[in-house]
C-alpha cells in the first residue's frame, strides 16, 4: 500500500501529469499511421526523455505505447490497414462494419474496448505482477510450442468460406516466414545469396502490404469499373444494450490478451487473433463474425491493449522485456539511471506505482481524446475514393520505409500488396497468412529447441501443461471443422417450410 502512496506523491509534479495527455496524443498520431508502430514512435522520442526525470520520461513513453496500441484500430476500421500489428484482428469485423456504413459505431466500440482492456490490464499488472511473473516463467520452450500450435488452429476457423483456402493462405505465410536466418542452426534460408533476404521479411512491411496496399488496389480497380458511392459514417452510438452485449466479450478478451502478453515474444497481434477466435467460438451466432460483428471488434481491441499491459509484467517484475516496446522502456530506464530487475518494485516504488497510476489516467485521457477525435478522423472515409486510396498507397510505402529506413522493406510491401490483391481476388482469406507468418516461426523454433533440450526424445510432449494446451489445440481444430461442416450442410439444405 505504501507503494501506491509513493506513486501518487510522485505524480504531484505538473510535468509528469502533462506527459500523460502528451504521450497519449503522440501515440494516437503514431499508431494511426500504418507502418509507424509504437516501437518506432517510442524510439523517436527516446532521446527527448534523456533530459527528463525517470518517471516523467517513462510516463511519456507509456502514453505513446498505449495510445499507439489503440490508434492502430483507426485505419484498421476505416481503410482495412492495421496501424500497428496488434490491430490486425480488428480489420476482420471493423472494416466490414465501416463498409456497411457503421464506421462510427465500430470506432466507438474499438475505443471503449481498448480503454476497458487497458484498464483491466493495468489493474492485473498492478496487483499481481510479481506473482504472475513467476507463473510466466513456468512457460518453457515446450509450452511456447503448444501455445503457438493453439494459435495456429485459429486458421481453421477464421478462413471464412473455405477451410482449404485458409490453409493455402497459411502455407504461403509459413513460406514467407521461413525466409532469413534459421533460428536454431543460424544459416540463411531462401536468401539466394542476398543480404537483405537473409535478414528475413519484417512483419510490418508484410502487414501493411497484405492489408493496406492490397485493399487500395482492390478499391481502385472497383472504382475504375463502376462509380464509387460515398460511404456513410453512421451513428457513433454503440447501440442498445451495448453494455450487456459487449461487456462479457471485452472481459474475456482482456483476460486472454493479458495472459498471452505476459509471455515474452508473444504480442498483441497473436493475443488479438486468439481473443477474436474465442469470442467467435463462444458466440451463439458465429456466422456473423467476419461480416461486421461488433463483438469481433471489441474482442480484438480489448485483447491487444490488455496484452500491452501483460507484456509489462516481466518488464517490471523481472527486468526482462515482454516485447520490443518494453525493451525500449527498459533502455530508457537504464539511461535514466535506473537498473531494472527483480528488485524494482522495492527499489523504486514511486516509479513503478507512479507509472501504474499514470497509465490508468492515460486510459481515461485516451477515452476523452478518442471520443472527441473520432468525429475528426472518421472524415477520412468521406475523402473521395479517387484521392483516398492513392493516399493509402503513399502512406503504406512511407510507413514501411520508416520501420528500418530501408528500401528493401518498401519492395516487400509492394510485393505483399500484389500478393494480397491476388489472394483477395481468388477469395483466399489473408488473415491466415499473417497468423502463420507471426506464429509459424515461434512454433518451429520452440519445437526444434524442445527436441534439442530433450536429446531428440518426444517425451516433452507429455508434460502436463504442454499436453493440456496441445489437447486444447486439437479440440479447437476438430470443433472448427465440425462447425464448418454443419454450416455447409445447412447452406446446402433447402429452407424448411415453417
Amino acid at each position: 500500500m505504501t507503494g501506491w502512496i509513493e506513486g501518487l506523491l510522485a505524480l504531484q509534479d505538473w510535468l509528469v501529469i502533462l506527459m500523460v495527455p502528451l504521450g497519449v496524443l503522440l501515440g494516437v498520431a503514431i499508431g494511426a499511421i500504418p507502418g509507424l508502430s509504437a516501437t518506432v514512435g517510442m524510439a523517436l522520442f527516446l532521446p527527448f526523455t534523456f533530459s527528463l526525470d525517470p518517471l516523467t520520461g517513462l510516463v511519456l513513453l507509456l502514453g505513446i505505447y498505449n495510445g499507439a496500441c489503440y490508434a492502430g484500430a483507426i485505419p484498421a476500421v476505416l481503410v482495412r490497414t492495421p496501424g500497428t500489428p496488434s490491430s490486425a484482428a480488428t480489420t476482420l469485423d471493423g472494416y466490414p462494419m465501416a463498409q456497411q456504413g457503421r464506421a462510427g459505431e465500430a470506432l466507438t466500440i474499438s475505443l471503449v474496448a481498448s480503454v476497458a482492456g487497458g484498464i483491466l490490464g493495468t489493474l492485473l499488472l498492478a496487483f499481481f505482477a510479481p506473482l504472475l511473473a513467476d507463473y510466466a516463467l513456468s512457460f518453457g520452450t515446450p509450452e511456447y510450442f503448444a501455445i503457438a500450435m493453439l494459435a495456429l488452429t485459429i486458421i481453421a476457423s477464421i478462413g471464412g468460406g473455405s477451410i482449404a483456402k485458409g490453409f493455402v493462405s497459411a502455407a504461403i505465410g509459413l513460406l514467407i516466414a521461413a525466409i532469413g536466418f534459421d533460428p536454431i542452426a543460424g544459416f540463411p534460408r531462401l536468401s539466394f545469396g542476398d543480404a537483405q533476404l537473409s535478414g528475413g521479411i519484417q512483419l510490418i512491411p508484410l502487414l501493411v502490404g497484405i492489408f493496406g496496399l492490397a485493399e487500395a488496389l482492390t478499391q481502385i480497380e472497383r472504382m475504375i469499373a463502376s462509380r464509387h458511392e460515398r460511404r456513410r459514417i453512421g451513428t457513433f452510438s454503440m447501440g442498445r444494450n451495448w453494455l450487456r452485449r459487449l461487456a462479457p466479450t471485452t472481459a474475456g478478451a482482456s483476460t486472454i490478451g493479458f495472459a498471452t502478453g505476459m509471455l515474452p515474444g508473444v504480442g498483441g497481434d497473436i493475443g488479438g487473433y486468439m481473443a477474436y477466435n474465442e469470442a467467435k467460438r463462444f458466440s451463439k451466432t458465429p456466422e456473423t463474425f467476419g461480416e461486421g460483428e461488433p463483438r469481433g471488434v471489441a474482442a480484438a481491441e480489448a485483447a491487444n491493449n490488455a496484452s500491452n499491459m501483460g507484456s509489462l509484467v516481466p518488464t517490471f517484475a523481472l527486468g526482462i522485456p515482454g516485447n520490443t516496446q518494453a525493451a525500449v522502456l527498459l533502455g530508457a530506464l537504464l539511461i535514466a539511471g535506473i537498473q531494472p530487475g527483480p528488485g524494482l518494485f522495492n527499489a523504486a516504488p514511486d516509479l513503478v506505482y507512479g507509472s501504474f497510476v499514470a497509465m490508468t489516467l492515460a486510459y481515461f485521457c485516451l477515452l476523452v481524446i478518442g471520443l472527441a477525435g473520432i468525429r475528426l478522423w472518421i472524415r477520412v472515409i468521406q475523402i473521395p475514393a479517387a484521392y483516398l486510396w492513392p493516399l493509402v498507397i503513399v502512406f503504406c510505402v512511407i510507413g514501411s520505409y520508416a520501420v528500418r529506413t530501408n528500401v528493401f522493406d518498401v519492395m516487400v510491401t509492394l510485393a505483399a500488396g500484389v500478393l494480397g490483391y491476388l489472394l483477395t481476388k481468388g477469395r483466399y482469406p489473408v488473415a491466415p497468412l499473417l497468423i502463420a507468418a507471426i506464429v509459424g516461426p515461434i512454433a518451429e523454433e520452440n519445437y526444434r529447441r524442445s527436441m534439442i533440450l530433450h536429446d531428440g526424445s518426444f517425451v516433452w510432449l507429455l508434460q502436463p501443461l504442454t499436453a493440456g494446451i496441445l489437447l486444447l489445440a486439437v479440440a479447437s481444430l476438430v470443433f472448427a471443422v465440425l462447425r464448418h461442416r454443419k454450416a455447409l450442410a445447412a447452406a446446402n439444405e433447402p429452407p424448411r417450410p415453417n
Binding site: 516501437t39 518506432v40 517510442m42 524510439a43 527516446l46 532521446p47 534523456f50 526525470d53 525517470p54 510466466a136 516463467l137 513456468s138 518453457g140 520452450t141 532469413g180 536466418f181 534459421d182 533460428p183 536454431i184 542452426a185 543460424g186 544459416f187 540463411p188 543480404a195 537483405q196 537473409s198 535478414g199 528475413g200 519484417q202 515474452p264 515474444g265 516481466p314 523481472l318 527486468g319 526482462i320 522485456p321 520490443t324 516496446q325 518494453a326 525493451a327 525500449v328 522502456l329 527498459l330 533502455g331 537504464l334 539511461i335 539511471g337 537498473q339 531494472p340 530487475g341 527483480p342 528488485g343 524494482l344 528500418r404 530501408n406 523454433e445 529447441r449 534439442i452 533440450l453 536429446d455
Partner: protein
Amino acid sequence: MTLPKLTRRLALTVGASVLIAGSLTTASLADDFPSEPIRIVIGFAAGGSTDTNTRALAAAAEETCGTEIVISNQPGGSGVIALDTVRKADPDGYTIATTPTEISAVEHMGLSDITHKDFQAVMRFIFDPHGFFVRPDSPYQSIEALIAAAKNGEQIRVATSGPASPYAITFEDLARTAGVSGKLVNIPYQGDAMAIPAALSGEVDLLVSNASNVVAQVESGDLVPLAVASDARIDIMADTKTLMEQGVEVTGGSIFGLAVPAGTPQERVEKLNSCFEAAFRSDKFRDYIANSGVNPAYLGAGDYDAYLAAEYQRYGELLELLGLAQ
C-alpha cells in the same frame, strides 16, 4: 532525483556546454566538420544493449561533437544489414556504424562478405565480458565442477542468444580449451530476453550472457555467476573470478564500437574519434556506466583498427576449429 542533485547536474551541463561552445568556435576555424547531423546506424532493435549503449554515448556526443546525432535502427541478419548500409554510404564521416562483435565472424561463417576491412574504426567504448551463470540450486557451483561433470559424460545445456552468437563462440572456446567439446550443448534463444528466463526457470543448466545483462538477477540471488571471460575481474561482479583465474585460458565478450566507411578522410576520423572520446569521458556517460554496469574499455581509432584485425584473425581460427567456418 533530489532538487540539489538536479541543480548540480543542470549547472554541470550548462558549464560543459559553455566550455564546449568555446572550444568549438576555435575548432570550426580549422574545419567545419561536423556541420551537419551525424547518423549512427545500429544493426539491432531499439532497446537492446547495442542500442542503449550507443544512445547513451550519442546523447553525450551531441554536446561534445556539437551537432545533432540521429539514431537509425536497421535490425536484421546479426547486424549485417546495418553494416551493409554504412559501408555503401558516402565516406564523409556523417554515417557511422556500430561495430558488433559479429563483424569478426560473419565472413568466416559464410553469412556475408562484410569484414572490418570495409570500415575505418573510430573507437571502441565498451567491452562487456561474457559471464557464466547458473541457478542457486544448480549442481554446478563452479567452473571446475562444471568441467568435471562434462568430463564424466554429462550433457550440459547452455542457453545463448542465438546459434552463431558471440556467446556461443565463447562457450565453445571454453569447452574446447577444457577438453570437453561436444559436452556443452548450445540451446539458442531469440535474444537475451528469452534466454534469461530459460536460465531462471531451470530449463537450461548454464547461461552465457553479458555480465551487465543479469546484474539485477545476480544481486537478487536468482542467478549465481561462475566466471567472467575477461582479462581481469569486473567492477559489477568483483567477487566473481575470471576464467583465467580458474585455469581456463579463454576470454570473450561483446564489443561496442563505432566505425565509418573505409576511405573516410583521416582528419574526419580523428575529429570523430576525439569528440566521441570526449563524450565517453563525460560525466553523463560515466553516470550511465555506473548505472548500467557495462564495462568501459576505450580504444582509439588506430588501436581499434588493429584490435578488429586481430579479432578477425582469432575468430577465423576459432570458427575453423569449432567447425563453424564455411
